[in-house]
Amino acid sequence: MDAHVLEHAAESGSRLQDLAWMVLFAPLITAAGTHMFLRRERSLAAGFNIAAVALSFVLSVVLFAAFAGETVAGSPFSWMPVAGMDISFGLRLDNLSLLMLLVVTGVALLVMLFSTGYMHEDPGYSRYFCTLSLFVFSMLGVVLADNFVMMFVFWELVGVTSYLLIGFWYDRAAAADAAKKAFLTNRLGDFGFLMGILLIWSATGTVHFGTAEAFLTAHPLALGSMASLAGVLVFMGAMGKSAQFPLHVWLPDAMEGPTPVSALIHAATMVAAGVYMLCRVFFLYTLPANWPDWLGFLQGIPASSIVAWIGGITALLAALIAVQQNDIKRILAYSTLSQLGLMVLAVGMGARLSAPNAGAAMFHLFTHASFKALLFLGAGSVIHACHHEQDIWKMGGLWQRMPVTFVTFLVGSLALMGVPLFSGFYSKDDILATSLETGPILFSLAVGVSALTTFYMSRLLLVAFLGRPRSSGAGQALESPSSMTWPLVILALSSVFAGWQIFGVSQFLTRHFLPEYRTHEFDPLFGPFNHNPTAAMFGFGAVLFGMSLAARIYYGAERDPLPGLMGRLARAMRHRFYFDEIYEATVVPLHDAAAAIAGWIDRWIISGLLVRGIPGAVEIAGRALRLLQTGNLQTYGLWFAAGAVLLAVFTLKR
């Protein structure tokens, strides 16, 4: 299939698809240029980098218009020849990557525009835009990669640039620690990813997505007993980037970065990379379950089930934690975790559909990107206005003082809750419908997560925006400047409309996975209620339930009544189910102990005993040798001859 694609690319005279290289490299060029020449030219640096991302966005639109529905390849170049095969860098444009290009460049562009206002006072202004461009470059590389190795390369670059962005204020110990934690956790996941790549490579002989997919479609048993393990190993990479349980601990801490960075990294790009990658290698998860003997106890469980369950657990845990957080960014962070869990669940469930496809996951990724970016930027606007106050109990009454921020934030929240007519409704309904088709347990879990989502978002709205101001900062808050509100308005519009069937995103994605899929008729706005009334009714019911419960508890509340109502459970939720503490108490000492033991061995056994022992032995040998060192040439000759004879005898004997 891909040979065909490449031929097609080589034959056709038009090289329009090579514009994708420009999409990819424009941000890199400006990042390098900024670093070299514009460190002190603040506004020039910002303008330059924004222009590059805008260029990438425009070119992405052009590419989308030109190639939607096709699969084409940008000209590859050979990177590393190894053992008869070539790892090349090539770009792959298909429905999946074309849509993702729009998401990444679009959100990045808005985030950068917003940042011109938000970061205006920061001394590292130029460095900020430079790193942001570098991050966009890495993310675009992940999106466009046409093979595992290239994806892994950019995958790691995303990790590094996110490290730089999270630790942007590296003077703050918390920021530096958070950056380190994010990087390490990601690396842990990537270790599995790399092993998975090696496994797939050794079994299929290729790292190219298209070739591997074609090969595994033709020979579904080619991976043998490693089939499921390969899926799980690759999934480990996604667990790191998309912060899935139990590697989720880095994401909430990563809120230490500047808020627009959180919007970019934790809504639309980096964390979405894991889900995107799973969709890209979706063919791995439709393989039949097959485990090696030493993992025999997993026999019969397909990799996709593990993916779905991990996603489901993450979604539920994170939603529960979000209910009891007071920091506005942390609520959004856990909400992100929870939504990512839903997407991962949709990938796993999608693999078990009668017509396997991950359309629902990608659809939710798409709508989530805009409303979550909106919510984060809105939170940034609030924090900016309240003089860097992040505790929602110290806000209140903001709806009057910041009308644009409030309305857009409300739109984002409604979309996140999945209220009909807002984009999140359609994509969440897709997920619910998918899980209803494959299993009642995960379906009820998804419904529960839906209700919790509505509950904690209503709580956030009621406490932070309504009521009366509970601090002087909130009382004096002023609406943010227009450079910050315009991006909010644009994102609010897309948060409403992105899900509407008239734009066909859902069908577009499904077609990526199922080429023969046909859309029957134009769906009205309430289409989900016709397609799968059970799923839609449950979803809608969850929204109503969550909203009314939150309204009862939090309307006009001055303090959080929930701890009084739920006691210990609420405390566990507030303390994030003690995950950080558990890791602190188990993994860290284990790790330290291993290091300490190795250090001890080196100090006392290898250096102490052996090394100090050897000179002793050497000294004894030296004394013995001194007997031989007579300084007499004949004696030396004799010894030499004796040695030679010994060797000769030794060899001739055989």
Partner: protein, 497 residues
């Protein structure tokens, strides 16, 4: 052309003694001139080398006819890569020694002798000649550490010398045995490699020669000289020690032990693989608990050299190519890391204790050092875009084909590598006080600002790791075809290359 690398180095060493004693500046200028000339000769030689070509003979003269030893210099892609590495690290080393004021003539004379010996080893295709150069390279290390070194320098120098000589003794024993057993009356490596030694002989000769060389390559558990030696050595010497001298050992393992005794290799491969992986994980773990910044880098060298040895143990083209690439990569990165720690930090702060450095806000005081170390650290964690990634990926692919379990453990070692590097970066540069800081892009001011030679040296090394990381074919196009030469016929026959 390539032979000039070593002639120029030795000529420079002799030339040092023609310089006036009082002049502190002349020796370093001469040394820089010779190092750069050597680098240019290496680059020139590399450009002349046919891509995809095999072994190119540089010089061949009868040397000791009665023994059948020749003055035989030649190069293939492997030698070429390492000669280039030596040229780069040697140049950077001089730039990082710009502040040497204690007996600079002697310092740079020993330095150039060491370099010359290293060039000689990489270019010798005659075992006796190789051995001579090998010893020439070892001796100056002792003096460089014992005279110009720091922490426990006598102990470290002696430990290093003892380890080296035990290694050489094993190597000599192996060579003599190989010479006698083959009965070919020649030390010519190409001739000896054609000879099929009896299996029983190979079974003991291989480990003797491999361990003999392996000691210098930091083979676990014989690595103990490396961290102490690196720490005690003056900056330029630790750069050379970790950058090129450790490569001598790995090179010897590949060039001699493996090509002469392929069946021995086949039998011992698993053991070497295990020792290599222990070295990877162990070096990383020990690096994690070090307080002395230089010890962190020293143990990271043990860990990285483990990848070289693992690559060798795979005996696959990709694993071996990865091993050679890792030699290059680690040489550059170790040079860079030691340059930052030894020259940029220690010479200014007079401490390498990470707990003490924590209070000094080096991220702000020495922003150039911080950025350089972060880049070097990212590279040494094996991140894409730097040479280490390509090298370690190739080794892992090779290892995956032979010993999948070891590959998994080695991969886990990389994660520990991230941990100790981030720990060192954070402790040394970015910790402590919460106070507003200037943008680290703005260079530091004051008397201790990073000097131009340091910047040039660091820039040179960073450029090398980035260029190779972005376009590994630059070196792989030389390295990979090298394994097709007749020298590796034995490996193909006896160890299934």
């Amino acid at each position: 052309m390539l032979a000039w690398t070593l002639y120029l180095s030795f000529a420079g060493a002799v030339g040092m003694f023609l310089l006036p004693r009082e002049n502190l500046r002349a020796p370093r200028v001469l040394a820089l001139g010779m190092a750069v000339a050597g680098l240019l000769a290496a680059v020139g030689g590399a450009l002349q080398h046919p891509i995809g070509g095999g072994i190119v003979v540089i010089a061949k003269q009868t040397w000791i006819p009665s023994l059948g030893a020749d003055y035989f210099l030649a190069a293939d892609g492997i030698s070429l890569t390492l000669v280039l590495l030596t040229g780069v690290v040697a140049t950077a080393g001089v730039l990082f020694s710009w502040n040497i004021e204690l007996r600079p003539r002697e310092f740079f004379a020993f330095y150039l002798v060491l370099i010359g010996g290293v060039y000689g080893v990489f270019l010798s295709f005659d075992l006796l000649l190789l051995l001579v150069f090998y010893e020439i390279a070892i001796v100056p290390k002792y003096f460089l550490i014992a005279i110009w070194g720091s922490t426990h320098r006598e102990y470290a120098a002696m430990k290093l010398a003892l380890y080296s000589f035990v290694g050489s003794a094993l190597v000599i024993a192996g060579f003599v045995a190989a010479y006698v057993v083959s009965g070919a009356q020649t030390f010519n490596l190409l001739e000896l490699a054609k000879f099929e030694y009896p299996r029983e002989f190979q079974l003991w000769a291989f480990p003797v020669v491999f361990v003999g060389f392996g000691i210098l390559a930091g083979l676990w558990p014989f690595h103990s000289w490396a961290p102490t030696g690196h720490v005690a050595a003056p900056t330029a010497a630790s750069m050379l020690l970790a950058g090129v001298v450790m490569k001598l050992g790995a090179y010897g393992c590949l060039r001699v032990a493996m090509t002469l005794f392929p069946e021995g290799l086949a039998a011992w491969r698993g053991v070497i693989g295990i020792l290599a992986v222990i070295g990877i994980v162990y070096g990383a773990l020990v690096a994690l608990v070090q307080r002395d910044f230089k010890f962190v880098v020293g143990f990271s060298s043990v860990s990285h050299m483990g990848f070289v040895l693992l690559g060798l143990a795979t005996v696959t083209t990709i694993g071996l190519s990865g091993a050679v690439l890792q030699m290059f990569s680690h040489g550059i990165l170790a040079g860079l890391l030691f340059g930052v720690v030894g020259r940029m930090i220690y010479d200014r702060e007079h401490t390498r204790d990470l707990d003490q450095l924590e209070a000094r806000h080096l991220g702000r005081a020495l922003p150039f050092a911080a950025v350089t170390f972060v880049l070097a650290g990212l590279a040494s964690m094996g991140l894409p875009g730097f040479s280490g990634f390509v090298a370690e990926l190739s080794v892992l692919i090779g290892a995956w084909q032979r010993f999948p379990r070891l590959a998994v453990i080695a991969g886990a070692g990389i994660v520990v590598g991230v941990a100790y590097t981030l720990r060192a970066i954070q402790k040394a540069f970015f910790s402590g006080a919460e106070m507003p800081s200037p943008d680290p892009f703005q260079a530091g001011h004051g008397e201790s600002a990073i000097s131009v030679p340091e910047k040039v040296g660091a820039g040179l090394l960073i450029a090398c790791t980035v260029v190779v990381g972005l376009y590994p074919r630059l070196l792989l196009d030389w390295i990979v075809p090298s394994f097709n030469s007749p020298l590796f016929d034995g490996l193909r026959r006896g160890a299934g290359l």
